[in-house]
């Protein structure tokens, strides 16, 4: 069943990586960046998101369902590839492997991150600046979150490249090369935004 419709599942996986997940992650990093302007500023931005109308609907249909599909299908893809960077140590082959490694790490990171924030909220905790500042009391958590953010920004940026090729938008070798440089830029910019926010809490 999965096999016969593999093509469509793969296209859906690719699309969901950008819309909505990629857009959500970008938005999430930008909201976090308000922490660099102080606790007040971050809390206002976070509350604005929390108070969006239909927030439960948005959470499920923009985040949880697409993310779960992308993550589980992604794990399947990751474990059915036989990486061979020792044989072909080219840039693209490394990116291919890193896309899978970061994807699998993101499953662990995102699960923990949701448990520590969204699930705690169900138990009555308040998700705000102080909550994050508390988490980052532990140096281990700072490292874990730094790795999580870098994995996500890398995976998204390289995913944009892969998306453009998968849908046939970037076709010639030259266009694929230009897209490589553009996505490298996306990786650097999103990483700086993410790291600045992290160290604002820490």
């Amino acid at each position: 069943m999965v096999r016969e419709s593999e093509f469509y599942w793969r296209r859906l996986h690719s699309l969901l990586g950008i819309i909505p997940i990629g857009l959500f992650v970008t938005q999430h990093l930008i909201i976090n960046h308000f922490a660099t302007k102080g606790a007040e500023s971050f809390n206002t931005a976070a509350h604005f998101i929390e108070n969006l109308p239909f927030i439960y609907f948005l959470e499920w249909f923009v985040i949880y369902i697409p993310l779960m599909f992308h993550a589980f299908y992604g794990v399947y893809l990751a474990f059915t590839s036989k990486n061979n960077v020792q044989r072909y140590g080219t840039f693209r082959n490394w990116m291919f492997m890193l896309q899978r490694v970061t994807g699998v790490f993101l499953v662990i990171f995102i699960a923990w991150h949701i448990y520590e924030t969204r699930i705690q909220k169900l138990f009555g905790a308040e998700v705000n600046y102080d909550m994050m500042a508390d988490i980052f009391q532990s140096p281990f958590m700072i490292v874990f979150y730094a790795l999580g953010i870098l994995a996500a920004t890398f995976h998204l940026a390289n995913g944009v490249w892969s998306f453009l090729v998968t849908w046939g938008l970037a076709q010639s070798p030259r266009s694929q090369k230009i897209v490589t440089y553009v996505t490298l830029g996306i990786f650097v910019i999103l990483s700086v935004i993410g790291m600045r926010a992290l160290f604002a809490f820490a």
């Binding site: 096999r3 593999e6 093509f7 793969r10 296209r11 590839s81 046939g168 076709q171």
Partner: protein, 266 residues
């Protein structure tokens, strides 16, 4: 060779040899094992001439008599693809693998992406089945003479010719991380062949059938863009350009199939 050379001189000269480490396997089911060989050096020898030398005198490096090594070959000029094997870790054709350009010991292994028949012989039948699946031919048979086909623009012919150089050698499958026993990806070559036959003006008359074949089991959906194939292909076929081109064509075809269209073949 000097004209003064005699049999006596040949014996006196220090014999230069080439070391080989060859992965052998007696039957499709049996376990592989390594065997080393020391072959007398000859100027300009290639891997196949060394294998022929071993066949002539099947004695391994320990001096034990053994069975000759099995391998496949045909054209001996890198156009048939039959002699492909993994040489020093890289899949390539053994007929164009010159001993002088290889580090020793030269390691030979079969392309394990395919079922191994014996020693270095593999079964590439699956690739020919894929070509059938994607209809890698141009249907010109009818109940009456169909006459001449449409002309192909010369500049299109030039790049399409490059795609036609594929010899179904299997190197791009061996190089691809997504062609393995957990997937049934038919491999980069098949995608490029769809582009070749869909480019031909007569072939284009059933291009939707080939694209639809790529959109099923083992087709385009299995490519993960590691782009090893384009690095590995001995014929320099722009496989990743073909893959992206077919990605674009199937994007359009997907909408045509879903909504219905009068433009299936144009």
């Amino acid at each position: 060779m000097s004209e003064h050379q005699t049999a006596v001189q040949e014996q006196a000269a220090p014999a230069k040899t080439v070391m080989f480490e060859i992965q052998r396997q007696d039957t499709p089911e049996s376990a592989p094992y390594m065997e080393s060989f020391e072959v007398p050096y000859k100027a300009n020898m290639n891997v196949i001439s060394a294998l022929m030398e071993i066949r002539r005198n099947p004695v391994n490096a320990k001096g034990e008599k053994t069975t000759p090594i099995n391998w496949d070959m045909n054209c001996l000029e890198e156009v048939c693809g039959a002699c492909s094997m993994v040489i020093n870790g890289r899949p390539r054709q053994s007929c164009t693998a010159l001993v002088d350009q290889l580090t020793q010991p030269i390691k030979l292994e079969p392309m394990r992406t395919f079922p191994v028949v014996r020693d270095l012989v593999v079964d590439r039948e699956g690739m020919f089945d894929s070509l059938k699946k994607i209809k890698a031919w141009i249907p010109i048979d009818g109940t009456y003479d169909l006459g001449e086909g449409p002309r192909m623009p010369e500049r299109k012919r030039q790049w399409a010719y490059e795609l036609s150089k594929c010899m179904t050698c299997g190197v791009c499958l061996e190089a691809c991380p997504n062609v393995n026993d957990q997937t049934n990806f038919m491999g980069p070559f098949a995608i490029s062949q769809v582009r070749l036959f869909n480019t031909h003006p007569t072939g284009a008359q059933n291009k939707d059938e080939r694209l639809s074949a790529l959109m099923t089991d083992g087709g385009l959906g299995e490519c993960g863009n590691s782009q090893n194939c384009v690095v590995a292909c001995p014929k320099g076929i722009p496989l990743t350009t073909s893959i992206a081109a077919m990605n674009r064509a199937t994007t359009v075809q997907m909408f045509k199939n879903f909504f219905g269209s009068d433009h299936m073949v144009d």
